[in-house]
Amino acid sequence: MKKKDIRQFILSFALALVIYGAFMFAMNSGIINSYWSGILIVACINVVLSTSLNLASGYLGQLTLGHAGFMSVGAYASALCSIYLGTSFIVSLFIGALAAALVGLLIGIPTLRLKGDYLCIITLAFNEIIRIIMLNIGITNGAKGLMGIPMSTNFTIVFFSAVITIYVIYSIVKSRHGRAIISIREDETASELAGIPTSYYKILAFTISAFFAGLAGGLYAHYITILIPKVFDYNKSVEILVMVVLGGLGNLKGSVIAAIVLTILPEYLRAFSDYRMLLYAIVLIAAMIIKEKNLMPHIKEKFSKKKDENKEVAE
């Protein structure tokens, strides 16, 4: 078990390095232009967001609509640290992620007693509260936007953030802690009566999920360099949830693929200018139907053959 595990780990990591190298080469030699490398950075940020939400929604089974809220906490916290405290980029990122995790913990303790629709609405409300706070407190510069954030995010950091996020969540899921989290999704009462401290694991999974959302927020802030509260509204939360649902709840590979596809797809649809969002919606509906009818495993197989970058999470 140990040997096999370590071999798999080294292989996955080597693969990630190869993919990274290939992308870096393509960018430096101009095969991928700066426009598309920008999209790749956003795709990687979305991978962090979707895989982290998958921990809360897919594995823990709590449908939450506040992921953009945690992202925004991370974004503002890290941006403010960079601007006012002059901390280094990595430290700012870390502080942003920790701030989001702390908020996740504070929100999680009272709300995780609720289930299903109720939790969904509470997290939605939380998302709005965060947005309105960011809009109204002085330090964030409200709707005018927080400016002057150093442009520190590059492909290297987002790529490895995504790899680390996937690795951490994958490791957790494969441990006794992960099994406890999944058992809560399956049957909370039975889980409790199998001796699992369910409240602890719910809050733990929620907090870890928020931590990585905060990390994504920090990466985003230092890439876009201007933060406007409106970006982190309800729509953004839904967008992330769509990635998770499309990729499959409790399916990390799926989350990665869905995040990449749903970031790139709108760009390809630019050719249809006015009908772009309409087409995007139609593609989403079609994708959901295909998934529901269980055609996805087949399609996914094709995808993973084409896109090697997804193999790093291969089981």
Partner: protein, 254 residues
Amino acid sequence: MALLKTEGLGIQFGGLKAVDEFNFEIDKNQLFGLIGPNGAGKTTVFNLLTGVYKPTSGQITFDGKSILKMSPTQITQFGIARTFQNIRLFKNMSVIDNVKVGLHHSQNYSLIASVLHTPNYYKGEEAIEEMALSLLRVFDLDQYAQVKANNLPYGKQRKLEIARALATSPKLLLLDEPAAGMNPTETAELMETIKIVREKFSIAILLIEHDMKLVMGICEKIAVLNFGTVLAFGTPDEIKNNPDVIAAYLGDEE
């Protein structure tokens, strides 16, 4: 000293006294049957013993300690495990993972250890794997280890639920109608399994069952519950000949 003892245990839902003045004792390693007509409050007793419901009166002592203030999770860790009347497995998890959830507390490697894959993590996971497999072997389920629990046939799902309960290393196992929906052959097989489990794990078993052949065949003591109170208490032979019990099941002569 009794392993489990209840004194004046009762719970009231609104005006309804579902269980009232329930007194009984289970000794270590005893096979105890709890029977009674439908709606007598048998499952409610299970829910009280496992902390799912909080009693409105009375006392529960387990292994010399009151468990009234404990949560279901704590009670399980303290040594009472149970199965459910309508099977409640973790359906989308593999058979072995179901048992591994029950083994959660047998190892204590931390979250950080699992992320960093420390030696502790491997040691823990290997131990869990081994224990889970040996438990599955007891129930002849080891060849299904990687099958999704939901895809097991009904009888095997019942067995898996018992295996999961045993994984928490209980001192007392509560089985809620384990033979429900089984044919006579499966029931006979289950009787054997229950006997083996008790000997192999040297635990006490409290059993709710409607199948009289099963109850009379393996239980050493039986309590009959009717309208939430204990109607009779004794060995299978005493119960069989008790006029009150016959009246409760078949009705009075008048």
